[in-house]
Amino acid sequence: MQTAQTYRLHFTVLFLVLVAVFLVNLSVGSVSIPLNEIFSAFIGKGASKETWQYILMDYRLPKAITAMLAGGGLAISGLLMQTLFRNPLAGPFVLGLSSGASLGVAILILGASAFGGFFGTILLSQWSLVIASALGSFLVLLAVLAVTFKIKDTMAILIIGLMFGSVTTAVVSVLSYFSNAEQLQQYIFWSFGSLGNQSWQGVLILGICFVIGLVLSVFSSKSLNALLLGENYAKSMGLHIKRATFIIILATSILAGSITAFVGPIAFVGLAVPHLVRQFYKTSNHLVLLPAVLLCGSLLMLICDTVAQLPFSEFTLPINAITSLIGAPVVIWLLVRKRKLFF
C-alpha cells in the first residue's frame, strides 16, 4: 500500500511530465517552433516570427488546453460511471450522451439542406455545431435525470441510458440514409473528433463546464467510496442514494456533454484511463483515483494529440483513432502483465 506521501510524489511527477508534454505539444506540428521561442511568447515578449506567435496563441495553445480538459474530463466521467454502475465496461457515454450529441449534429448537418443553400451554410458555422451537440446531449441528460428520479434501481438506469442511445443512433441512421455524400462526409468528420480550431471563448466555456464538473466529482468522492461496498451498505452508512446518484450523473453529463460539444465524440479515453490508473495504483479509493485519473487522462490526450498532428507533415490524423491506437495496446499490455483486472 502506498502512503499519502508516495501518492503526492507520484502526482507531482505526473504533473511535471504533463507540463513537459504540454511544451512539446506546443512546439511540434507542421511548423516546429523552438522551445525558447515558446517561452518568450509566454512572457509577453512575443516570438521572433509573427507567424509563430500567431500559430502558438491562436491555434496550438487553445488546442493543447482543450486536449488536457477533454482528456481529464472524459477520464473522470468514465471513472464516475464505472463506480456508479459497478461495471468495468461503463464509460462517459453509457447514458447515451454522445448519441444525443450525434443526433443534434446529425440534424444540423444532414438536415441543413432542408433550410436551403445560403441559410444552410450559416447554420454550419462552428458555433452552431457546438450548440447542436450541446442541445442533443442536454435533451438526453434531461431524459436520464427524469428516469433517475423515478427509478430506484441503478442498473435499470444503465439499461435505459443504452436504450436512449439506440433510439438516437437509429434516428441518425435514418437521417443519413436520406442525405447526400457531402453531408455524410461532414458528419463523419465530426464524429472523428477534433481538438483543433477552438476559439478562446470556446476554451473558456469548456473550462468553466470542466471546473463545475470537477467540483461536483470531488464532492461526490465520499459517496463514490461508500458505493464501493454496494448500495445497501452505502445506505446503512447514511448515504442518500438518490441524491448521490443524481449528482454523479449530473457531473458526468456536464463534463462529457460539454467536451463532446467542442471536440466531438471521443470515446476511448473515458473507458480506458480509469482502468489504467486502477491497474497501476491497485486501489479503488476515489481520493487517490480522482487526481490520478485527471492527470493521466490529460496526459494521454495530450500525447495522442502530439502524435495526431504528425510532426513535420501537413496532415492531422483524427484524434478519435489515435486515442484508441495508442491507448488500447497499453491497456492490453497492462492487463496481460498483471493477469488480473483490478476493479
Binding site: 500500500m1 463506480t83 459497478r86 470531488v218 464532492f219 468522492s221 465520499k222 467510496n225 461508500a226 458505493l227 464501493l228 461496498l229 454496494g230 445497501n232 451498505y233 445506505k235 446503512s236 452508512m237 447514511g238 448515504l239 442518500h240 486502477r278 491497485k282 486501489t283 479503488s284 479509493n285 481520493l287 483490478f342 476493479f343
Partner: protein
C-alpha cells in the same frame, strides 16, 4: 405508544413485514413482537423463506413495515433520517462488497463515514475507532491486505470490523456464519458474544446454526410458519417452540440435547 423501560433498545409492536405492490400487500410474516435490551446477543432462526431477511431489512430501514411499529431507543424507526439511523445501527449483509479492490484498512475506515467530513478524511478519533475494530476482530495483521486476498472467514471478520468502526449501539447481521467452516462459525458467534458483553452493544443476527445459537445467545427469536416466539433459548426448548420449525418426518428437535436430529 413508546416503550417505557429504559434498557430496551429495539422493540417491535405487531410488526408485519413483506412487500407492498399494486394488487395489495404480500405479507411474509406478521404479529412479530419482541423487545431487546442493551448489551444482549439475540439470534433469529427459522426455515429458509420464512422472512428472516425481510424482517432484518425492515428493522434496518431498507424497506418499510407493512403494519405495526419498530422502536429504536424509544423513538419510532420512521422518525429517523437515514443519516441518524447510520449512527444508531450498523449492518453486516450477506452480499459481498461490490469492489474487493479495497484494502482491509480502507474497507473498515469506510465504516466511519457517518462521522467524517465532506470528503471523508479520517481524524485521530476515527483512526482510533478503526484500530479498536481491528483489534476486537483480530484483523490487525490483515490491515494492509486487499479484500480479494482474504478467505471467507477473514472477510466476515473484516465485515464485522467495519460495522464496529461505525460505532453504533446496535449491530444487525444477516446470516454471518454462511459459507464458513465449523470453526469459523463458532469463532464468529463467540466473537459476537464477546462484543455484546464487553462493549454493551446490542447484536441481532439471523442464522441457520440453531444448535450454536441455543448455546450462545441471550434470547432467540424463532420464526415458525404462523407465529414467532421470543425468549431465552432454554425456555423456548421447554415450551417446544423448535418442534414446529421444520417438517417432522425429515428432521426433529431433541429437547434433551438441544439440537436437531435426522429422522430415519
Amino acid at each position: 405508544m413508546a416503550p417505557e423501560e429504559k434498557n430496551i433498545i429495539l422493540q417491535t409492536q405487531n410488526l408485519a413485514v413483506g412487500y407492498a405492490n399494486k394488487k395489495g400487500n404480500s405479507v411474509v410474516a406478521q404479529e412479530i413482537n419482541f423487545s431487546i435490551e442493551k448489551g444482549e446477543l439475540v439470534g433469529l432462526v427459522g426455515a429458509n423463506g420464512i422472512g428472516k431477511s425481510t424482517l432484518l431489512r425492515t428493522l434496518t430501514g431498507m424497506q418499510t413495515a407493512l403494519n405495526g411499529e419498530v422502536f429504536l431507543n424509544g423513538k419510532n424507526l420512521k422518525e429517523y433520517s437515514s443519516f441518524q439511523l447510520a449512527t444508531q445501527l450498523s449492518v453486516v449483509l450477506t452480499e459481498a462488497p461490490s469492489s474487493k479492490n479495497l484494502s482491509v484498512l480502507e474497507m473498515i475506515s469506510l465504516g466511519r463515514q457517518p462521522y467524517t467530513n465532506w470528503i471523508g478524511s479520517l481524524t485521530e478519533e476515527d483512526k482510533k475507532a478503526v484500530n479498536l475494530a481491528l483489534e476486537a476482530t483480530e484483523t490487525t495483521a490483515l490491515a494492509q491486505r486487499k479484500c480479494f486476498e482474504l478467505s471467507d472467514g477473514q472477510m466476515q471478520r473484516v465485515a464485522i470490523a467495519r460495522a464496529l468502526a461505525q460505532d453504533t449501539p446496535i449491530i444487525i447481521l444477516d446470516e454471518p456464519t454462511t459459507h464458513l467452516d465449523i470453526y469459523h462459525r463458532a469463532y464468529v458467534l463467540k466473537l459476537l458474544k464477546k462484543l455484546a458483553s464487553e462493549t454493551q452493544k446490542t447484536i441481532f443476527f439471523s442464522t441457520h446454526e440453531i444448535d450454536l445459537a441455543i448455546q450462545l445467545t441471550d434470547k432467540l427469536l424463532v420464526m415458525a410458519k404462523d407465529e414467532t416466539y421470543f425468549g431465552e433459548p432454554c425456555k423456548l426448548i421447554e415450551a417446544g417452540r423448535f418442534d414446529t420449525l421444520f417438517p417432522k418426518e425429515t428432521i426433529d428437535f431433541d429437547g434433551k440435547i438441544g439440537r436437531f436430529v435426522i429422522k430415519n
